[in-house]
């Protein structure tokens, strides 16, 4: 699949989660929206923040921080939703990624992208397409098709409804 010429450049959009900077192929990005609160769908994993209405189309929003094992995204002035097109099971699906902030678009020659390290990152290597360098900063280039593959997103740690049952026993104590 990746038979691109080494001199070919690709444009990347970078965004930050906590202190880390990630990049995704601009071709995958459809638009960037200001934060809007999503309608939570009961029973879905926590990182599936819910659904939002984008001009009459309903798209799911994924909390990228939760997805990558960080704390839940808190709303700031910079918080936004990156709407992108993901190939899932050879079909294109539109999906929003909730991120702390969007930074810039830059070009990177293919030759300047290094393969993902086998170990030593906090991130699962199958999510990483490669590591790029930009102003001496390491940028993790994500394979978003993998990040958002159906298995990844529908895999339930535990159904919320089931966890609710355990939670509710504490409820009488607090009220």
């Amino acid at each position: 699949m990746e038979t691109t010429n080494t001199n070919e450049t690709v444009q990347y959009l970078t965004f930050s989660l906590d202190e880390e900077v990630f990049a995704i192929d601009v071709a995958k990005v459809r638009e960037i929206l200001d934060y809007t609160s999503a309608m939570r769908v009961p029973g879905a994993p926590d990182f599936m923040r819910g659904i939002v209405n984008v001009r009459g189309n309903v798209i799911p929003v994924v909390d990228m921080r939760l997805k990558f094992g960080m704390s839940k995204t808190e709303r700031t002035v910079n918080t936004c939703i990156v709407v992108m097109e993901v190939d899932v099971e050879s079909e294109t699906t539109v999906l929003g990624a909730l991120v702390d902030s969007v930074q810039e678009v830059f070009e990177l020659e293919h030759g300047h992208v290094e393969p993902p390290p086998k170990m030593g990152t906090r991130w699962r290597t199958q999510f990483i397409k490669g590591i790029g360098k930009r102003n001496d900063q390491l940028i993790i280039i994500l394979d978003i098709d993998m990040v958002f593959s159906l298995n990844e997103l529908t895999q339930l740690e535990r159904s919320r409804l089931a966890s609710k049952a355990t939670a509710s026993e504490e409820a009488p104590a607090t009220t």
Binding site: P42, G56, P60, T166, P172
Partner: protein, 714 residues
């Protein structure tokens, strides 16, 4: 480009095959119905014609053999027999197979196909020997079209009426006859006056005129003959078919003026060639040359025009009747209309707060138009349920033959319309239900007779609208369900406790549980393992309900209640904290307000008393983990879920809400409690609840809770 056309062809061919099967099954009962025979012939002819156009040579060759037989049936040379119908039905299956086999479109026929072709040839052979003389191929076609009493489709005929001179002597008036001709169809009459002499030589009581008539009618040649029946012995009447749908389909353009005249014998071929060699308008040249009377040309022109008009009419009728549109295009239209509905309700909100009469007026107009647009768009997706019924007839016929049972399938309400997707997804459950009725419901003729029933069983399949849903029932007059057998089986399978007290309805509902099958022996008809639970699952996924009622030895009735469409929902909009949900209106019985004090008294047992009846309820707030302070009063929506009354407790019932359903998408496919969502006027999203699933997961959560409490107290 070609592929797209080929796809259309395959679609159309499949439609035709379905009609064909339908007609064949009808033909079994009405074996002399010319209309049926005609439609079978036409369907075969079309499949053959367009098949060869798209490179399905094998299919065309094969179909041609069958078509030939029906051409003979049509002309009365071959009669309809069980063998003929059987072979044709198997031929339909082969054709269907050839349509899907895109790789091998022009190869050799398979053994099975060759056997069918041989079968048809044998049928034909037997009849040919009966015929006194074999007519020339061309004459066969004409005979076939001309001889049948009632021609079922429109043809254009050429009629020449030549009265003998003494026609008027008995007071005959031709005018009423011509008027009668006009009544048969579109008709052009041209009087040929070339033989009328000058007044001095005229015998005023003799007839010098003859007529050329071109008529386009679906009544057949005999109807034309009948018009002139009283003058028959004083007239020469020549009738021939000059155009028909088949001829047009064969791609034959209509005759040129000169050709018409030569065909009629009004002009010799040599003369025509002479005239044609000069590069002028034929009509002018012919008359200038004095070789033909103006009247003859006049009538030939009339004939040409009539044929052209008839063809145009057929073309417009065909065009106007249906348009094929890819389903995706419809879906996107419906999506856009959904958005428009949303925008429109926002407009109405803005207009209401603007206090401008002019804007309010516009908003009202937009609202009305949007509602109409929405209804119309929805209706495009609606198709008659009959398309699902037709394949079931074949199923009943084949199965009952296989099992040695005699079964009639009666259908009612085939014209009932519902959403195309619903119909598509209804197919499998219906097949299953019918199979069940044939296999388990209706007994063998001997058993039936012994039980004092007619030996022929009946399965009744009916559909009708009831409110916003469609009710489909499958009922048979078979042996019915045995309550005790079901109960014992359920106990044996551990589905119910041995001492469980169940109502009749509850016992029948057991049949719908996974793994339940009451068939005494496993047959290859109903199969093993998959039972009514699959049907139930299918119907559930359609937001429908299923109910069984049965009387032993009388029969079983299964009632399916389905939404008209999956694209739109009539629901009740409710609010919990600041989240909105839509509860399908079909399952709602009433709304009751519940005071905080009532909740306290029930102390988390999730049961309340409504007019003396204990009703369990689900607190959405709790179930969905919406943590906010309790309201002073909450409302309970009382619903009926799988036969039981269940309350759904919410903060507020906002009101009735009709909306376009939007799917949540594949990332939420595993979420059961929510079937989709809907966008409210202000852009907020409301989730549409699947009540049965909500109640089920509430029960699960409660059970888990109970266990935890138990564990905690130890």
């Amino acid at each position: 480009m070609l592929d797209q056309h080929r796809e259309t062809f395959i679609q159309e061919a499949n439609d035709l095959l379905r009609e064909l099967e339908e007609s064949l099954l009808d033909l079994e009962e009405k074996s002399t119905d010319q209309e049926l025979i005609g439609s079978i012939f036409r369907a075969l002819h079309t499949i053959k014609g367009s098949g060869s156009m798209f490179g399905y040579d094998k299919l065309a060759t094969f179909t041609h053999e069958i078509e030939t037989a029906y051409d003979l049936v049509r002309s009365g040379g071959l009669s309809v027999t069980r063998i003929l119908v059987d072979s044709t039905l198997s031929a339909c299956d082969e054709i269907r197979g050839m349509l899907t086999d895109d790789e091998d479109r022009s190869g050799a026929l398979s053994d099975a196909q060759t056997a069918i072709v041989e079968g048809f040839r044998n049928l034909l052979k037997n009849t040919h020997s009966d015929k006194p003389s074999a007519p020339t191929p061309d004459a066969v076609v004409v005979d076939a079209e001309v001889n049948s009493d009632e021609l079922q489709h429109e043809c254009t005929y050429r009629v020449r009426l030549t009265p003998s001179p003494d026609l008027f002597s008995n007071g005959t008036n031709l005018l009423p006859l011509f008027e009668e001709m006009q009544g048969l169809g579109t008709c052009r009459i041209t009087a040929q006056v070339e033989n009328i002499p000058r007044l001095q030589e005229l015998d005023p009581e003799a007839c010098y005129t003859f007529w050329d008539i071109a008529i386009n009618t679906d009544r057949g040649q005999n109807a034309i003959r009948d018009v002139f029946i009283f003058v028959e012995d004083r007239c020469r009447l020549e009738i021939s078919v000059i155009d028909s749908m088949e001829r047009e389909a064969d791609g034959k353009g209509y005759l040129k003026l000169g050709e018409i005249l030569v065909q009629r014998g009004d002009l010799s071929k040599d003369n025509m060639q002479d005239i044609l060699s000069q590069q002028h308008r034929f009509g002018e040249l012919a008359t200038e040359a004095g070789i033909i009377d103006h009247g003859k040309i006049e009538s030939a022109l009339q004939e040409q025009q009539l044929v052209r008009e008839a063809r145009d009419k057929r073309a417009t009728v065909e065009q106007a009747s249906t348009i094929r549109v890819p389903a995706e295009r419809l879906d996107s239209l419906i999506n856009m209309v959904g958005e428009l509905v949303t925008v429109q309700s926002r407009l109405t909100q803005v207009a209401n707060s603007s206090h401008s009469q002019a804007i309010l007026q516009v908003a009202e107009d937009v609202e009305r138009l949007t509602a109409e647009l929405r209804d119309n768009t929805m209706s495009i997706r609606m198709v008659p349920i009959g398309s699902a019924f037709s394949r079931l007839r074949r199923l009943v016929r084949d199965l009952s033959q296989e099992l040695g049972k005699e079964i009639d399938l009666l259908t009612e309400g085939a014209e009932t319309e519902l959403d195309k997707t619903v119909i598509e997804r209804l197919n499998d459950p219906l097949v299953h239900l019918i199979r069940n009725s044939v296999d388990h419901g209706i007994q063998n003729p001997q058993v039936r007779t012994a039980a004092g029933k007619p030996s022929r069983g009946t399965i009744r399949l009916s559909a009708c609208h009831s409110g916003a849903s469609v009710q489909v029932t499958v009922s048979d007059d078979g042996q019915g369900l045995d309550l005790e057998t079901i109960r014992l089986k359920a106990i044996e399978k551990g589905l119910i406790a041995p001492d469980a007290l169940l109502s009749e309805r509850e016992v029948f509902a057991l049949v719908l549980l996974p793994g339940f099958s009451t068939a005494q022996k496993v047959t290859n008809v109903s199969g093993r393992g998959v039972g009514m639970d699959v049907v139930k699952k299918n119907i559930d996924s359609l937001q429908g309900t299923i109910e069984i009622s049965s009387k032993q030895n009388i029969g079983t009735t299964i009632t399916l209640k389905l939404p008209l469409t999956l694209a739109i929902i009539d629901g009740l909009l409710v609010r919990v904290a600041n989240e909105f949900f839509v509860v399908p209106l079909t399952s709602i019985e009433e709304c009751v307000e519940l005071k905080l004090s009532d909740v306290k008294r029930a102390s988390g047992q999730h049961i309340t008393v409504i007019r003396g009846e204990l009703v369990p309820y689900v607190r959405l707030r709790e179930l969905f983990g919406i943590d906010e302070a309790l309201q002073a009063a909450e409302q309970i929506v009382i619903t009926r879920v799988e036969g039981n009354r269940v309350g759904i407790m919410v903060d507020e019932v906002v009101g009735q809400h009709q909306t376009v359903i939007k799917p949540l998408g594949r990332y939420y496919k595993h979420i059961n409690e929510v079937t989709g969502c809907s966008i409210l006027g202000d852009g907020t999203i409301a989730l549409i609840l699947d009540l049965a699933k909500v109640v089920k997961s509430a029960a699960r959560a409660e059970a888990a809770n109970y266990e935890n409490v138990q564990a905690g107290s130890v």
